[in-house]
Every structure is written in structure tokens, then in C-alpha cells.
């Protein structure tokens, strides 16, 4: 079953359930189902294509979708992430912070590639979005072509690292010219921690006769590093050739069909399965509540003598629901405490990392004399170090947040029916925050040019000459004699030296102030981002569990009310109501059966 069809069937099941509960005056349950349906429509599976640069990432994406969506050049590399997703009509848009600007299709390369002369306006583009009608993307698959990593210490690498937390799967691209290098394995190890669904792709298998040997070596490296990931050897140029000539044999040889199968079966299907489970769960939970209300009423209507008994049972059930609310107080406490702890921990972690950078940077400033000479290198280093620190902090925060969600859900485990809400972190990660921070610039300060040096020197010399000359005049020498001239020269030199030292010290102090301000900015922005992320997580969890507890309680109250009302009703009214209830129950039962048939495993 294709992911699209599966998705459609789920939407239909939800719609059926909504019609079934119509007229039961439960707008809260209807709203819950509406949310479920919206989530289904918006289901996106993000696959990150990462790797060192010039390994053929863009070629791989092009080969997968069968269209030249990512520019491929011999020399220049991809500079901004490109999101390739499905749409009925092709379109390209660039996303700059929050605004989304559509651009003509042929302008793509201008925005997506690095250019030798960097222009300011391109730098702020956070991503390029390409939408094209392709069957592989129909199931909500989004391929993200990332700029080459170029080592983990680089800003680019840090940004990719942060993006990992929001990815459903990661494809690590490395070409068949050589086995994995140390930085690539390091990257894989970190990627595994942030996103468990990782596969490796060995590109350019057509070009290298020894690719099988490289494949074995790579598998060996993965096994030794304890990384469980499939390796797919592919050849994008053969795939491309196969697409243009329609040669099926060539297409099979290119290795792409296997990769596509992997994406469909392991990535999309897994995401689809998750979506299916949570949707069916929602539908069943809603139906169960409605059915239990109707059941209780039916019993009461059928047998007025047992009404008191039913009311007793229902009261007991309400007490249970209240207990759940009470328990909800406990989980809310866990959640609140957890978030507070997490906030403190993450803030501490960030500050600790940044303080270490500040310490090192200040030491470097102190040791290296005049900072204006090494300012460019210095700022690059600081920016890289802070970017790496911020993304490490972000990844860690995300992992901790997931762990917290698991712990909160443990409180509900006794019920056994509560699924964790999907915790997709939609925040863009620290790279965005870092981008909005003003660059480190230091005022040019006092230029110590020749004119000023001369003036300083003359001033010192004049003072020296005058000082010694005055003594001289006391014992009868003239103001201008060889000794005073010598003293003047010495003093002039000393003043000049002092002045130079003073200026260097001043520049060092200025640089330190700029550094501290920058680190402060980073702490502020990144800290805010982490806190927002946590608050988002907290809100999602709280709303999810509170809504469930409330709905349960409301259902029980409804049943109680219905049972109490039935005592006053006449026989004829009862019969009519019973028939109504029976009809409704039958309808609900049909919907329930339909929905449970959709569960994976039940569908056989």
C-alpha cells in the first residue's frame, strides 16, 4: 500500500468517526478528531542529506527525485539547505528568517550555491524550498540537501548538527574514492545520538573500479564503531542516464531503486506507522468514550430498577476520573519540576561552554599582542566555537526534553492507552539565533600614524630636554647643550614606547569588551531559544494530557446525567430512546471496526 493511499484511508476513518459522533453534542471530541485530521494532512517526513562537501549530495537528491532541483557544479558547493518537497505545480521559494519569497525557477542556482564574491543579501537566506510533483515525494517526504560539513568545528557543521534533531532520517553521503575518514565517523556517531534512523550512501560508484573494496572497508569501520547503518552504493550519473534513456537495467545497476525502497519502507513506512497508530488510537479513544456514555444510558433505559445501581457504578467511575485528575496533578508536578530542572541545566551547560570559550579567547588576546592584526582570524574562531557550543547545547536539550516526555508518560502507563504526542521540534535551532547576532566589530580606535607618533615623540623629547635643561641652567649651562639633547631624545623614545604600549593595551581591552558583548548576545539569544523550545514541549505535553483527562470526565458526567434523566421518562419515551441508542451504537461499532482494521498488523 502506498503511503499516499494509507494516509487517505486514515483521513477517511477520522471523517467517518466525526460523522458518527455528530449530534451527540460533544464538540470537544469533535475538535480532537479535527486536530487529528489536520495533523495527518500536515504529515512530513524530513530526510537530511549530509556529508562532507563535494561528495555528490546534490547529485544524489537530483537522482532521487529525477529532476535537476539542486545545482551541481564542479567547483562551487551548495551554500544553503535546499528543501525538496511535493506539490502539484513546481515552484521555488527562498526563506529569509520568517518571510517566504517566491522566485523564478531558473534563479535557483543563484541562491543555493556559494559564490566566489559573497554578497551580503544571500548570506541571510536560511533555506531554499523547491516544490515539484514527484511520486517519491508524495507521501510527505521532504529531502533536505545540506551544505557540506567540512569538519565539525565549522559553522556549517554546527548548523547541520542542530538540524539533525528535527530530522526523521539521515543519509550520510560519502563518495567511493576513499573509505571513511575520522571526521566522517565522528559525525556519524553524533548523528546516531540525535536521530536513530541513519543510513550511509556510497556515491560515484560508477567512477571507481574499487568501490566494492571501499564498501567492505566502510562496513568494517561502521561495525568497529558500533554503528548499525545500511550502506547503499549508488551512481547518480548512471541513474541520470537511465532516466533519460529509460533503460531499466541501467537503473537497477545505479543502485537507486534500493535506496528508494529503503526510503519508502524504512523511513516513510515507519513514520506512516507511527502516524497510523496515533490516529487510530485517537479515533478509538473518542469512540470508546461515546460508546460508554450510550451504553450506560441504554442500561438505565432498559431496566429502570437498575438505575440506582448504574448511578452508583458511574459515581465510582467518576471518582476514578477524579483520581486521574489527581494523578494529573502529580504528572503536572513532574512536568513542571522537570522543565524547571532542564531549564537550569541547559542554561548552566550553555554558560559553562561559553565561559570556557571566553576564557580561552581572552587568554589568546592577552598573549598575542595587538589584537587588530589577528582580528579576522580571531572573530572567525570565536564564531565557530560559539556555533559549535550552541548546537551541542541544543542537541543535548532536545534529547533531554524527549527523555522528560517519556518520564511524564510513565505516570499514565497504568492506563496503557496513552500514546506520547509527537514532539516535533519545529524551532530552527541555534543557527538562526546565531545569524541574528551582530558581527563582532571593534572600533578602529586611535590610528597611531606617523604624524601622531612624531607628535608624541616630540612632546616627550621636549619635556625631557626642558627638565634636564632647567637643572642645567641652575649651574650655569645653557638650556640647549649635548646632555639635554640626549636626555630629550631618550625621553622622546620612552614616551613613544609608552604610548605604543598604551594603545596596544587599550586595543586589547576594547577587544575583550567586544568579545564579552558578543558572548553575552549569544547567551541571550540561544538561551531564549532553548527556553522557548522547552516551554513549547511543556505546553504540548500539558495540553495533551489535560485534554484527555477532561474528556474522560465529561463523558462520565454525561452518562450520569442520562441515567438520572431516564428515571423520570415514560415507557414509550424509553423505547424510542433505546432504539435510537441501538442505532447509534451499531453505527459506532462499524466505525470502530473499520478503524481498528487500519492498525498495522491487523490489516492482513
Amino acid at each position: 500500500m502506498s503511503p499516499v493511499a494509507a494516509n487517505e484511508r486514515l483521513v477517511r476513518a477520522v471523517e467517518l468517526a466525526r460523522t458518527a459522533i455528530e449530534g451527540l453534542s460533544r464538540p470537544d471530541l469533535d475538535a480532537r478528531l479535527a486536530r487529528t485530521r489536520d495533523r495527518l494532512a500536515d504529515e512530513r517526513v524530513r530526510v537530511l542529506v549530509v556529508g562532507e562537501f563535494k561528495q555528490g549530495k546534490s547529485m544524489l537528491v537530483n537522482g532521487l527525485v529525477g529532476a535537476p532541483v539542486c545545482p551541481v557544479l564542479d567547483d562551487l558547493s551548495t551554500a544553503v539547505p535546499t528543501h525538496v518537497a511535493h506539490a502539484a505545480t513546481p515552484s521555488v521559494a527562498i526563506v529569509r528568517e520568517t518571510e517566504r519569497i517566491p522566485v523564478p525557477l531558473d534563479q535557483l542556482a543563484r541562491y543555493a550555491c556559494e559564490s566566489p564574491n559573497r554578497d551580503e543579501h544571500r548570506q541571510r537566506i536560511s533555506r531554499v524550498e523547491v516544490n515539484i510533483p514527484r511520486s517519491i515525494l508524495e507521501g510527505g517526504l521532504v529531502l533536505v540537501d545540506t551544505p557540506g560539513v567540512g569538519g565539525l568545528g565549522s559553522v556549517q557543521g554546527a548548523a547541520t548538527m542542530a538540524a539533525l534533531t528535527s530530522a526523521d532520517a539521515v543519509l550520510l553521503v560519502s563518495d567511493a574514492s576513499q573509505e571513511y575518514t575520522a571526521p566522517e565517523l565522528d559525525f556519524l556517531r553524533t548523528a546516531m545520538a540525535a536521530c536513530p534512523n541513519v543510513a550511509c550512501v556510497l556515491t560515484k560508484a560508477d567512477l571507481y573500479p574499487h568501490w566494492r573494496q571501499i564498501l567492505d572497508l566502510d562496513r568494517g569501520h561502521l561495525a568497529r564503531a558500533g554503528i548499525e547503518a545500511d550502506v547503499f552504493p549508488v551512481s547518480a550519473s548512471m541513474r541520470w542516464h537511465a532516466l533519460t534513456t529509460g533503460d531499466a537495467e541501467l537503473s537497477a545497476e545505479s543502485g537507486f531503486p534500493e535506496l528508494v525502497r529503503y526510503l519508502r519502507e524504512k523511513v516513510l513506512a515507519r513514520a506512516g506507522e507511527l502516524a497510523c497508530r496515533s490516529t487510530v488510537h485517537d479515533v478509538l479513544a473518542v469512540l470508546e468514550q461515546v460508546v460508554s456514555t450510550l451504553d450506560a444510558e441504554a442500561v438505565a433505559q432498559r431496566d429502570p430498577e437498575r438505575v440506582q445501581e448504574v448511578i452508583r457504578e458511574l459515581t465510582a467511575a467518576e471518582a476514578r476520573a477524579t483520581a486521574l485528575k489527581e494523578r494529573s496533578a502529580r504528572w503536572q508536578q513532574t512536568l513542571n519540576d522537570g522543565v524547571a530542572d532542564l531549564n537550569a541545566d541547559i542554561d548552566y551547560d550553555l554558560r559553562d561552554r561559553l565561559r570556557e570559550i571566553t576564557r580561552e579567547a581572552e587568554q589568546a588576546l592577552q598573549d598575542n599582542g595587538d589584537p587588530s592584526k589577528t582580528w579576522d582570524q580571531f572573530t572567525t574562531w570565536v564564531q565557530q566555537a560559539t556555533a559549535a557550543a550552541a548546537s551541542a547545547n541544543f542537541v543535548w536539550a532536545t534529547q533531554r526534553a524527549r527523555w522528560l516526555a517519556g518520564r511524564v508518560a510513565e505516570h499514565f502507563d497504568a492506563e496503557g492507552t496513552h500514546l506520547l504526542p509527537s514532539l516535533r521540534i519545529e524551532r530552527p535551532g541555534p543557527s538562526q539565533a546565531l545569524g541574528s547576532i551582530r558581527a563582532m566589530t571593534v572600533k578602529d580606535g586611535e590610528p597611531f600614524g606617523f604624524g601622531r607618533q612624531l607628535l608624541t615623540g616630540v612632546r616627550g623629547g621636549y619635556m625631557g630636554m626642558l627638565m634636564f635643561g632647567m637643572f642645567g641652567t641652575l649651574v650655569g649651562f645653557s638650556l640647549l647643550n649635548p646632555i639635554t639633547v640626549g636626555a630629550g631624545l631618550l625621553m622622546g623614545r620612552k614616551t613613544l614606547g609608552d604610548e605604543r604600549r598604551r594603545i596596544v593595551q587599550k586595543r586589547q581591552a576594547d577587544a575583550k569588551v567586544v568579545l564579552r558583548r558578543y558572548i553575552d548576545d549569544v547567551t541571550f539569544h540561544v538561551g531564549k531559544d532553548s527556553r522557548d523550545m522547552l516551554r513549547g514541549v511543556q505546553r504540548v505535553l500539558r495540553d495533551h494530557f489535560t485534554a484527555q483527562a477532561d474528556q474522560l470526565k465529561l463523558s462520565l458526567q454525561d452518562s450520569l446525567q442520562a441515567a438520572k434523566n431516564s428515571v423520570k421518562a415514560t415507557q414509550a419515551e424509553r423505547d424510542a430512546r433505546l432504539a435510537e441508542i441501538k442505532l447509534a451504537l451499531d453505527r459506532l461499532e462499524a466505525v470502530r471496526k473499520h478503524a481498528s482494521a487500519l492498525l498495522p498488523g491487523a490489516a492482513t
Binding site: D74, D75, P116, G151, L207, P209, Q213, L250, E253
Partner: protein
């Protein structure tokens, strides 16, 4: 001029040797340096793993003496020196050198270290009778950023030794596939390693495996050259190395060792109908199914594409094809750069290594014999060192001159070659009168520049160095 320099450095070393005679460690080190002055220039080939270091070394020598493989291959630093007879010696970290058997299988030199683990080996020394090794000793190093950290460490230790032992290589050819962070870091640390005061002067970067750029298309070499040109003007790289060239090591090696049977095989391929050949060349796998699998290992897909089209264009004999292959591989350009930038400056680079080693020793062991002033005199008073320093400063941007002046200055300092005619920008065969005329014009121009009040102090100093250079050329012609 440089002869004089070598003599005075040798003199100084002898002086130091007698001064330090009670210190056996110093005596050994000094003896080593003296010996080194008479040896050919040492050029290390460094780069990331699988950058094609061993393949390029084979291409430069013209024989398969360095082992190559699809996986990571070179694990110990290996020296290739000129020798009368083939000889392989293993130098362990401790203990006496061990001679190893010389085994050649299918023309490839195979070195069996006799079960000695790589971490116990300081270096392998291969003596080989080859013309190209007479000019310079080549040193093959394990790749940087290797998965096996110990391999990387061996290279780093070799090229950036601690304070105890001065650096062993006089010059470095750095191979990279694309400029990667690890490459830049490595080059930078190599520069930082006080290969003192003079910086980029003894490093040349090469874009290796250039035939694999653009997926082995026939125009791959053009792309590679364009990339090299871009890197040459890249500010990040300018300060780190002297020149960037593109070279396809495999193609060059195959060209230099092309056999008759291989020529025949390629010729047979060239005679196939074009669509059939193109279909076979879609992937290495396909090609190996229809033709001799060894062929693609020797040429690479790009090499086969190139060789067949060369034959169609009229390369009718093995020697013609071999010549064309070598010419297209960029090897000549690399050799020219090595000759101009390293070999012509051989004495200067060697003297520099020796002076730096002695300088380090004096700093470390104290200077009871007053060697420092003489050392200082050689370092500051030798005009060639001043030229090197200025050249490096110009390249790294530490000294800035207006653009046309800077180009002129770099050429005059010997950036493109040390011969007077090249320095003055004349034809290589210019006669003495032309040289003298051009030199005196240049002299007057730089004298004028040195007095120009608009230029800063450092620029003026630079102009004075150039004035002396012009004077030197005038005096020499």
C-alpha cells in the same frame, strides 16, 4: 650568491661543532645538518588520506616504487632517495637500522616490514636508481585525518616535530582534493610551526586526482585547472602556500609507464563504434565486464575516455600517446613549479633549514660559545633570506603594496623563478645588455618607490629590499 651562503653556513656549522664537542647529542645533530647540506633537497608529499600521495610520487619518479591501494595504504613515513642499487632499510624508533629484502612483483616494489608494527617504525628508507630522485629526495607520508589516529599522528610528528628535533623536510607538496577545513588547518599549523619567519615559501599545493572532478568527464582537467586558478587567488590559501596546480597522478603515472600491450588495448577500444564504447564507459563495473579489468585500474574512466579520443585524434604510437597523457595530466606543470620554486632555491632552502636548526639548538641549550651573533648576522645580512621573508610577507598580506607594484615585486623576488631574466620579466634568452638595461630601469623605479612618502614604513622597507635585489642582479650581469 647562494654558493657563498652555503659556504658560510657550513663554516658556522663547523664552528658550532667544535664549540659543542663535549655535548654528544648536539654533535650528532650538527653532524646530521652538515651532512644534509650536501644531500639533495628533501620534499615531503603530504595531504589527507587517499589524496593520491603515493600515486603522485610514483608519477614523479616514473616507477611503481610506492605501494598504492584502494584502501588507506601508506602507514609509515617512507623516504625515497637516489642510490646506485635498490636498497630498503627500516629505521626503528630505537635500535639499529634493519635492511629489508627488495622484492618487485609485476614492476611494483613490495616492502615487507618483517612483522615490525608501524608504531615501532621511525621511517623506511628506499634507495632507488632513478634520475628524478637525484634532484630531490621524495618523502611519502601517511594521510592526515586518517581513521587511524596513529597514522595521522605520524605525519604530524614528522612535519611538525617538537622543539627537540628540527623539521626534516625542506619543502612540502600538499595534495588536496578540494580545500577542506582539515587541509587549511594542516597548512596553517605547518606555517605556525615557526618554519620560522618565512612562511609560504616552501609549500606548494596541488589539486590531486584532478581527473575525478566532474565525474570523470572529458573536460575534467579544464575544471580542475579553473579551480586551481581560483584557489591561487583565494586569500585563505595565498598566505599558506606558494602556488596551486592541478594534477592527475594516475594519468601521469600511467603515461610515464605505458606499455605496448596497454596501448594496443586502448587502440582496440578506440576502434569500437562510439555508442558502444560510451555505453561501456558508463561505469567502471560495466567496463570491466566487457574489457580487461586491469585497464580501468591503470587509466581510470577519465583516462580511458581521454586516451581513446587522443588515439582517434591521431596519437598513433605508444610514445605519442604517453607524451599526450603526461602533458594533459598536469605533471609537467607540477614539475616546473617544483623546479622553479624548490630546485632553483635548493641551496637557500637547505641553508635555511640548517640555520633554523642551529638557531633552535642555541635557544634550547643556551649559548655558551657566542654563536648567536653570527647566526643573527647570517639571518639578517643574507639578502636571500630577506627576499624570502618579504615574499612570504607579501603573500600573506603582512606587507601590502599597491596591486601592480606587488605583482612586479613578487616576480622580482623570484616567485616565478630565480633566473635574472625571469625576475625582470624578460624572455629567457635575453642578452646581457637587455638584462642590464631592464635591471637599471627596475632599480631606478624601486629607488623612487622607496622614497615615495605615500607608502608606509613597512612598504618602504620592502622597496629597499627590492632595490638591493636589483643591485644584486646588476652586479651579477
Amino acid at each position: 650568491m647562494t654558493q657563498h651562503l652555503i659556504t658560510s653556513v657550513r663554516h658556522l656549522l663547523h664552528h658550532a661543532l667544535s664549540a659543542y664537542r663535549t655535548n654528544p647529542r648536539a654533535t650528532a645533530a650538527l653532524g646530521h645538518q652538515l651532512h644534509r647540506l650536501d644531500e639533495p633537497l628533501r620534499v615531503a608529499i603530504a595531504g589527507k588520506v587517499k589524496a593520491g600521495k603515493s600515486t603522485l610520487l610514483n608519477a614523479l619518479v616514473g616507477e611503481a616504487i610506492a605501494a598504492t591501494d584502494a584502501g588507506e595504504c601508506t602507514r609509515v613515513v617512507t623516504w625515497y632517495r637516489a642510490g646506485a642499487t635498490p636498497r630498503v632499510v627500516l629505521q626503528p624508533l630505537d635500535g639499529p637500522p634493519v635492511p629489508l629484502p627488495v622484492v618487485r612483483t609485476g614492476g611494483v616494489l613490495e616492502i615487507d616490514m618483517g612483522g615490525v608494527p608501524a608504531e615501532r617504525v621511525d621511517r623506511l628508507v628506499v634507495d632507488w636508481p632513478a634520475q628524478s630522485l637525484r634532484e630531490m629526495t621524495l618523502i611519502d607520508t601517511p594521510g592526515v585525518a586518517s581513521i587511524d589516529a596513529a597514522n595521522s599522528a605520524r605525519t604530524t610528528r614528522f612535519l611538525e616535530p617538537d622543539d627537540e628535533t628540527p623539521t626534516e623536510a625542506d619543502a612540502v607538496v600538499y595534495l588536496m582534493r578540494h580545500l577542506h577545513v582539515a587541509d587549511a588547518q594542516f597548512l596553517e599549523s605547518f606555517r605556525d610551526q615557526g618554519v620560522a619567519r618565512a612562511t609560504a615559501v616552501n609549500t606548494v599545493a596541488a589539486i590531486s586526482r584532478a581527473d575525478e572532478i566532474a565525474g570523470g568527464r572529458v573536460d575534467a582537467m579544464f575544471s580542475a585547472r579553473a579551480i586551481a586558478t581560483r584557489y591561487r587567488s583565494e586569500p585563505a590559501l595565498r598566505g599558506l602556500c606558494q602556488n596551486v596546480v592541478a594534477v592527475a597522478g594516475l594519468l601521469a603515472f600511467t603515461g610515464r609507464t605505458l606499455r605496448q600491450d596497454e596501448f594496443a588495448a586502448v587502440k582496440a577500444l578506440a576502434e569500437l563504434p562510439r555508442p558502444e564504447l560510451e555505453a561501456a564507459l558508463l561505469s567502471a563495473d560495466r567496463f570491466q565486464r566487457t574489457s580487461d579489468p586491469a585497464l580501468v585500474g591503470r587509466f581510470g574512466l577519465f583516462g580511458i575516455r581521454l586516451a581513446t579520443s587522443l588515439i582517434r585524434q591521431g596519437a598513433a604510437s605508444p610514445s605519442a600517446l604517453a607524451g599526450e597523457l603526461v602533458a594533459r595530466s598536469g605533471l609537467h606543470e607540477l614539475q616546473r613549479v617544483l623546479r622553479v620554486q624548490f630546485a632553483e632555491r635548493r641551496d637557500l632552502l637547505k641553508a635555511r633549514s640548517a640555520v633554523l636548526a642551529l638557531d633552535r639548538m642555541v635557544r634550547a641549550d643556551g649559548d655558551p660559545y657566542r654563536l648567536a651573533p653570527e647566526l643573527e648576522r647570517i639571518l639578517t645580512a643574507t639578502h636571500e633570506f630577506a627576499e624570502l621573508r618579504l615574499l612570504a610577507a607579501l603573500r600573506s598580506g603582512a606587507v601590502t603594496l599597491p596591486k601592480p607594484m606587488a605583482v612586479d615585486a613578487q616576480r622580482l623576488l623570484g616567485d616565478e623563478g630565480g633566473a635574472p631574466a625571469v625576475r625582470l620579466g624578460l624572455e629567457p634568452h635575453a642578452d646581457r645588455a637587455d638584462l642590464r638595461r631592464a635591471a637599471s630601469i627596475a632599480l631606478r623605479r624601486w629607488q623612487g618607490n622607496a622614497e615615495n612618502p605615500v607608502l608606509g614604513r613597512r612598504a618602504a622597507d620592502a622597496c629597499r629590499v627590492l632595490v638591493r635585489t636589483c643591485e644584486g642582479i646588476l652586479a651579477g650581469t
